[in-house]
Symmetry: C2
Subunit: 395 residues, 2 copies
């Protein structure tokens, strides 16, 4: 009789070395070697059953991991300059990654300016997906250059915004939010059978000390302002006031108060309109992505293997590997990593469910060598961890 | 009810970083943290029971690990120059490390010359131990500068050697072996209640292709000869012939043929006389040392933790950690190391019984940083490996 060992290999990308898929494949290969070795040594017939499911965090490049079909549209970038943005689909769901259209990585530091940067391009991508016939939209948000409350995206989709004199306003950037006195969402009638889901990585509310402007605003300012304490505080305060005005008008228009929705502070308030108008569901990015990829409890793997370039405090902030080990806390879970920041981080990963957090290095080597040899090292570390599990569990 | 987890922490020294004892302590500390963490997380009351037993290989510095009392005698070194040599005792056994008196490390390379280098000092240490009242002598051999068949040591203890003309010969170096025609062991009467044991790391026989001269002779020649193929072969052939003559005379004198005894080729044939005259038992060094230290099957540890500066092919040659994991192949055994040479070495360690071979590095770091932080890294790796065992085994 033979026993099946069910292995879920779900790597996060090892940035600069391996894609999530490549890393997942190496993990599975190492696990296979370990199962073979153990079976051969102890005359126990184990078979490996491998589920290879690369993961991502909801941040940059999430769409590349989640989607299986891709499209490219030329849209308006964060400063209305043309950007070729990639989006994709998985089954009947379109996957739009806002970072590809309105991301902070699209701009040089000295062009940063949340008062003018816009999510217009993200709205254009959504529109393109709807026009292609998609009725389910998954929007992954994070890494945005904007604090525009999603006014740009809503405008791209057809909403119109008026000021106190009932004149149409230019719907670009945080500055526009302060001028809004009335909104016309009538163009959205045609989207009434579209379902929106939003995956975000943080659970901040919209306003105040824990809000979008206070927590994420500064990093979207150009360095000359960000590093000037007074200028920075003034900018944050202005962004917050503009967001507040916009939230008020949204409430007046839709009868919904979205201020305290968890996650609504992510990506410069991009979700405000989607939650208020479309009842979009905001969910933690990592959890959402695991669901999307079919990485659910029902898989009941014996062993879960995941990876993270470096395990540090940001890993603990529900990045995909963290969500994964929490989800499978009844399995034996292995986190392979280039580096473990501290004993504390390691123990917190253990608390979350990690059975072992292991560096891939096979000795004292340089970072560049470790990155160059990442595939081989990943495979060997996977062998090591799986073999040791089999020894501890079965022999 | 609480369950006891029995941990045997038996480190080899991490050369240049930690002594075997320091490393063992760090291992035990990491294991304790892991057991506490696991107990706290899963409400299972585990207690750690720690056996801290540093180990060594039988090579350099073995006495420092094995013995618990020490003595220093000034004796004649490999070239009859004065050397302060350390020896020790554990219980009623004197522990003499030949490398301390007649070791290759005591000479600069260009002074190497097996035709003149002698084990006389090793014999002096043995004599000193007997004079102190020890009746049990453990001789650890290896790392010798000599191919003198132990003639020096025997001479220091009172044996007398004669040539064909029945003239007393100077008993120093391999050259002397060729001249011996008769031996007088009558001075050894007074040692008849002394028991000799010899621990050596190799199992070579005395003569021929796998013999003392052929395998170990070249490394004891000075570079100018060692690197000259013809001179080297001539020297090896001469050393072998001299050893053969000595073995013949020993056989004539004692009626014992020691030529094919396993290990008799170690340390330039140092053991010849001890085996022939005193019925000394030659045993693999690592096994012997484990026994001496009370690291026996009866300990039945749940977990064995050991260390090796670098796991390479030499580790597989029955170095102490290797002997340890073989001895406890029913326990869960952890090998912590600065580096793993190759996948092949790792798998062979698994074959020998290692449940996990794990580097201590917590990321890509330089060798000097790894060595500087060795204690901390050792403790953390021990935590990691023991915690993962508990997860795999109990949860």
């Amino acid at each position: 009789m033979s026993k099946s060992i069910r292995v879920l290999a779900s790597a996060n990308a090892m940035k600069g070395s391996l894609s999530a898929k490549e890393a997942s494949n190496m993990m599975a290969s190492g696990a296979q070697k370990a199962i073979s070795k153990f079976s051969e040594q102890f005359g126990q017939k184990f078979n490996g059953e491998f589920l290879i499911k690369p993961i991502a965090d909801g941040g940059d490049d999430t769409v590349d991991v989640i989607a299986d079909s891709f499209y490219i549209n030329t849209i308006k970038g964060p400063l209305l300059d043309p950007v070729e943005a990639r989006w994709g689909s998985l089954g009947d769901t379109a996957v739009i990654e806002m970072a590809k259209a309105s991301g902070i990585a699209l701009l040089p530091e000295d062009k940063l300016d949340p008062f003018t940067t816009t999510t217009f391009g993200t709205g254009q991508l959504i529109l393109a997906a709807i026009e292609k016939g998609f009725k389910k939209i998954l929007l992954t948000i994070g890494g945005s250059a904007t604090v525009d409350g999603g006014i740009g995206a809503l405008a791209a989709m057809g909403a119109q915004f008026y000021d106190k004199e009932d004149k149409i306003i230019e719907p670009y950037g945080n500055s526009a939010l302060g001028k809004v006195a009335r909104i016309d969402f009538s163009a959205f009638e045609k989207f009434k059978d579209v379902q929106f889901s939003i995956a975000c990585d943080v659970d901040n509310i919209l306003l105040g000390d824990k809000g979008s402007a206070a927590i994420f605003g500064p990093q979207k300012l150009r360095p000359s302002i960000r590093n000037d304490r007074e200028a920075k505080m003034k900018a944050v305060s202005q962004m917050n006031a503009n967001l507040e005005n916009f939230a008020n008008i949204i409430q007046k228009t839709t009868n919904k108060d979205i201020r305290m929705v968890k996650g609504i502070g992510a990506a410069g308030g991009l979700s405000i309109g989607f939650v208020a108008v479309f009842d979009a569901l905001l969910r933690p990015g990592s959890e959402f992505i695991l669901d999307m990829l079919g990485i659910t409890d029902e898989l009941h793997p014996d062993i879960v293997i995941t990876s993270e370039g470096k395990c540090d405090v940001s890993t603990l902030n529900n990045k995909a590997p963290y969500a994964l080990i929490r989800r499978f806390s009844n399995s034996y879970s292995i986190v392979l990593t280039g580096a473990i920041e501290s004993e504390e981080v390691e123990q917190k990963l253990n608390d979350a469910g990690a059975s072992i957090v292991m560096t891939i290095e096979d000795g004292a080597i340089s970072l560049s060598d470790s990155m160059k040899r990442c595939g081989e090292l990943m495979e060997r570390a996977s062998y090591r961890a799986v073999y040791s599990y089999l020894r501890a569990h079965f022999k």
